[in-house]
Amino acid sequence: MEHMDVANPYFGVFVLFVLTFGAFYATTVLARLASRAMAAKDNEKIKLTVYECGPEVTRQPNRISTQFYLFALLFLLFDVEIVFMFPWAVDFRLLGWFGFVEMLLFILLLAIGFIYAWRKGALEWHNIK
């Protein structure tokens, strides 16, 4: 469990920073290339209107369906969960049983939230048509 000896204790963070920068750029470029190559290019009339999968503008003034917000919230929930779980997993042996029980409680709380969201249908895409 020893860390590498470098002059600055934050050197590792810096390396990670640079790597993320590169990785992020590469992912976006790749995604763009892939979607360009693979997208079905049919320009029907409805597809080129203001917003393709929303209903008429009069019924829904904001153009983004609220379901995106639900997904974003759920994503945030599990994103933060990973942020907590990762350092715990790295120091699993150090923290021992105490850490294990703490993490189980944490996951239990999140699991109740997740089951709640699931049962309430937050994970299904409700088709507006």
Partner: protein
């Protein structure tokens, strides 16, 4: 190789978490019950919430006993702090929550109460407020504040009218700003002292004799602004009347009592050591804030045409009155703060419950808000009892002896005089006189005017059901007979406050 961390459970003192864990578990149980079997009657959820709050109350009484024997308890890596302030603060929070939750058993159907989420959020909110008062760790205060506030915004919006969405958005924006200010202030204090625990911060600041006075001032300004928003002190009050008007009367009454006592406890922990340091000038700033809040809110309340908005301004004025205790800073003043708030909680509970009882779903012709003064005109003709009870709560809020709030005002002014703030005491007394005008205005409307709207008497009792009537009856009894238990209550509070060193 590092050694595995060995933490003995005794040193964690996990029992200090029980009062907060009970409502959290209660909220999860309510959510799970809804998942297993949906569509249950709301009275089940009300009773479950009451049950968990009762258990919470029991554990707090237990802690009060332990505190009188062993003194302050720390727990959970010294993050939890159970001292006298924490115990009274939580007792006030839990008891007022127990009294406000049955107000959801109305005879008319309001759809927010049919969701089990309402009760789950309510219990989460209580846990948040409890965390806020039972710690001196700035991070946990922040987490508790946000847990409670986010639940509260949602509860307001659940009322599902345009005005309540507006209220929720306004409250959310202001609350987010306040949270930002709080974190700025806490950050600067951490940068200065290297600690996030209030007693550590005060020790470090005193040890180097406030040498970084500029930074301390900036931090204090941020923190004062954030508490100004939460306590609706002038000039941070602008959201209050709109939010009260938009939310249901039951929730508005709740908002005028519980979030404020939590913020008062935190402000007391945070500002007490700064007020009398003679270097931070907080005393002067607080003096101005207190006087402005008391006076201006009273003057605005005079011109309101809606009873709920009038009560909103009156609650701002009462908050300013009580904030004076933090300025004075003696044990007597701090105990008077809690006594005042208990008595105010019961009078306000009664007044808002009376508004809630006559909240009709469809406004009659010529009525432009839910509770205009005209609605109560000539109430004594149609319903003498309701008029008398409403009048009683108004007299109590105005501070007429021997009703509830009078004793709070008396102790508060006495502590101002004995703390050497004679001018402040004079201003407080003058403000009570101004306040009497708008409380008596409602009484004049009820007892001396002819009815304005041509309706049957049903609109004044449209929501009344047995639980609501019992809550109002309870508040009435408490307000009338407060004279009997004010001094034992004051003794109990003073012992707790004194033993925790405030």
């Amino acid at each position: 190789m590092l050694e595995p961390v060995n933490i003995s459970l005794e040193s964690l003192n996990l029992s200090t978490l029980t009062p907060m864990l009970i409502p959290i578990i209660g909220a999860l149980v309510i959510l799970c019950i809804d998942l297993i079997k949906g569509g249950l009657n709301k009275s089940l959820y009300v009773m479950l919430s009451l049950l968990f709050l009762l258990m919470d109350f029991g554990s707090l009484v237990d802690f009060a006993q332990l505190f009188s024997e062993n003194g302050t308890m720390m727990g959970f890596f010294d993050v939890m702090l159970i001292d006298g302030l924490a115990i009274i603060g939580q007792l006030i929070i839990v008891v007022s929550s127990m009294l406000f939750i049955p107000l959801s058993l109305t005879s008319k159907r309001f759809h927010e109460y049919s969701y089990p989420e309402f009760y789950a959020l309510f219990l989460f909110m209580i846990a948040g407020f409890q965390f806020m008062v039972a710690t001196d760790n700035l991070i946990l205060i922040f987490v508790g504040l946000e847990l409670a506030s986010l639940a509260l915004y949602t509860l307001i919006a659940l009322h599902n009218r345009n005005k309540s969405f507006e209220a929720a958005i306004k409250y959310f924006t202001m609350g987010a700003l306040a949270a930002g200010f709080f974190s700025f202030g806490a950050m600067i204090l951490y940068a200065l002292t290297g600690s996030i625990e209030i007693n550590q911060i005060s020790a470090v600041l005193a040890a180097d004799e406030y040498s970084n006075i500029g930074f301390v001032l900036v931090a204090v300004t941020f923190l004062l602004a954030s508490f100004g928003f939460k306590l609706s002190l002038i000039p941070f009050h602008a959201w209050t009347p709109d939010v009260y008007e938009g939310s249901s009367a039951a929730l508005a009454g709740y908002m005028s009592v519980v979030p404020k006592i939590a913020a008062f406890v935190v402000a007391m922990r945070l500002f007490e050591f700064l007020v009398h340091s003679n270097v931070v000038w907080l005393e002067t700033i607080l003096y101005v804030l207190v006087v402005l809040t008391m006076t201006l809110a009273n003057i605005w309340a005079l011109v309101q045409s809606d009873v709920k908005r009038m009560l909103a301004y009156s609650s701002i004025s009462h908050a300013g009155f009580v904030m004076a205790a933090i300025l004075i800073g003696t044990t007597q003043a701090n105990s008077a703060l809690f006594l005042y708030w208990v008595l105010f909680a019961f009078s306000n509970l009664g007044a808002f419950a009376m508004l809630w009882v006559n909240r009709q779903k469809v406004l009659v012709a010529g009525q432009d808000s839910d509770h205009p003064f005209e609605k109560f005109a000539g109430l004594v003709r149609t319903m003498p009892t309701a008029a008398a009870i409403m009048g009683l709560f108004m007299l109590s809020l105005a501070g007429l002896p021997p009703f509830g709030v009078f004793w709070g005002k008396m102790y508060m002014i006495a502590s101002a005089v004995s703390g050497g703030y004679t001018v402040l005491a004079l201003i407080m007394a003058l403000n009570s006189a101004i306040a009497a005008y708008y409380y008596l205005k409602l009484i004049v409307f009820m007892f001396m005017k002819e009815p304005v709207y041509d309706t049957d008497k049903a609109i004044h009792m449209v929501n009344a059901s047995m639980p609501l009537k019992s809550i109002i009856g309870f508040a009435t009894v408490f307000t009338i007979f407060s004279v009997l238990f004010v001094s034992p209550l004051m003794e109990f509070i003073t012992a707790l406050v004194y033993n925790s060193g405030y």
